[in-house]
């Protein structure tokens, strides 16, 4: 899957409460959630971003609550990929389960500045910074996780297993 867009950059410990504040969790409609994506860390995020843009952050992105509404809001807002030094484990798991592309790549985080144009090949993990003409290589996913990603997320994977009586 080819991804290309402009980067919005954030620091350490971006928590799920700022990604989607609890006051909006009285719905699970992704379109409604998307309207408030990143609202408490960057009030104008949804207005200023364009479809396909990327989020780049430092350590422990998505820490806090287990709310799947966080990756759902990011995905529905049109963010194509999140790149970080590291992800909190529930957010990491949720993103893979719902098919939001995420990559851990400290070199990319160090090299990419806000506003850079970036192209990502999710399958190979190759990240191209078109603005700075640099390339960074994210680590490959473990085989099982790649299988989940290829299946289009956990529900599709489980549905196939149930159907095949595995």
């Amino acid at each position: 899957m080819e991804i290309k867009g402009q980067v919005w950059k954030y620091g350490d410990d971006v928590d799920t409460d700022v990604i989607i504040p609890a006051r909006y969790l009285n719905t699970s409609n992704p379109k409604e959630l998307a309207k408030h994506c990143m609202e408490d860390i960057d009030e104008n995020f949804v207005d200023k971003m364009s479809n396909g843009d990327l989020i780049v952050a430092e350590d422990n992105f998505g820490c806090g609550s287990s709310r799947e509404h966080a990756p759902l809001a990011i995905k529905a807002a049109g963010v194509s990929c999140v790149i970080a030094n590291s992800f909190a484990r529930i957010f990491y798991r949720n993103s893979i389960n719902i098919g939001l592309p995420i990559l851990e790549c400290p070199e990319a985080v160090a090299g990419i500045a806000e506003g850079d144009q970036v192209e990502v090949d999710v399958d190979s993990g190759l990240i191209k910074n078109l603005t700075k003409e640099e390339e960074y290589q994210a680590a490959a996913f473990p085989e099982f996780m790649q299988e989940l990603i290829d299946a289009g997320g956990l529900v599709n994977y489980v549905r196939r297993r149930v159907k095949n009586n595995e």
Binding site: N26, S28, S86
Partner: protein
Amino acid sequence: MGMTMVEKILAAHAGEEEVKPGQLVNAKLDLVLGNDVTTPVAIKEFNKIGVEQVFDQDRIAIVPDHFAPNKDINSAEQCKMIREFAHDKEITNYFEIGEMGIEHCLLPEKGLVLPGDIVIGADSHTCTYGALGALATGVGSTDMAAGMATGEAWFKVPETIKFVYNGQLQEWVSGKDLILYTIGDIGVDGALYKAMEFTGEVIEDFSMANRMTMSNMAIEAGGKCGLIEPDETTLEYVKDRAQRDYTVYKSDVDAEYAEVIEYDVSEIEPQVAFPHLPENTKGISEVGEIKIDQAVIGSCTNGRLEDLRIAAKVLEGQKKADHIRLIIFPGTQEIYRQAMHEGLIDIFLDAGAAVSTPTCGPCLGGHMGILAKGERAIATTNRNFVGRMGHPESEVYLSNPAVAAASAIKGQIVGPREVR
């Protein structure tokens, strides 16, 4: 080479003799949990999987506790959706308003989580049950859906960090202070992707309430789970509650740990975590003058009977400061009733507190105690992120129940020694 508790539990549930950190395993689940915020998404995903029924109606727990009692029409719709799902699938452990509680106070009380279990919950504080010697971890709604359908989940076997607490506890220092101190030491990602194991003579002497408070906040250090080896205290707690068999797993003496961190608790005073991360901890003597608008006592972290007893000990015969809102919410109906019988509720009412039915409400800025712009709260809850309890420009300070109660009396953050 020996195995840690977590490795043993995962091996047993995956049908393996042995597992090693980093290995991916598919494990059988003893319980799958969800609440009114996460279960609606799980139901939508469950319906896509193509199974008619959940894997076991007795092994699923659904608790409307976040925006319940329903705070608005949308929340009412979400609660209705999970109520109907529970009814339709004949799920045994659905707990309606009036019999419910905050999920992580309720499930251990009902004997639904037991030593040696693997529990996944679509709520990050599911790690609370580590206090019973269970591998319990938070997941998202899609994992909950797959868990409800298959009774299984995939796990990466985590490395374990062992935390050893020895020494003599100072007065008013509790499990909350030890876990805040630990998070302050290792940071909010200090145990990322790892299991935490809490040990030492202090933990051995701890009540179940203190143990659950510590395990509850493992997630605040990024941990997958926070386990405590079952002992006589654990077995005494589960003895009359368990309705099924369970297995006690203990770490081998030659088990391999990623790290062993030792603390002398004699040095630790009551802790306060400053905005906006649980790792921003200070001892109470270093807090300075911080005026507050609200004090909140309760939650899955500190809403147990013992927590209320401590708050009552501080508040007895005293009044909250004039301008303060003091909100106390017992963790379950049973805790509420017992607090009433012991006269704790009278003490709270006399002190000028609002005592609420069990709910997660204020902790996550849902309802029942939202902060306005510029307001500050001291809370016995677990997170102090930006906007956690209301307006993005409000502030939350985390503490134990004694500090929260004393602060309500003084109108600023102080330790209990200032008022008793």
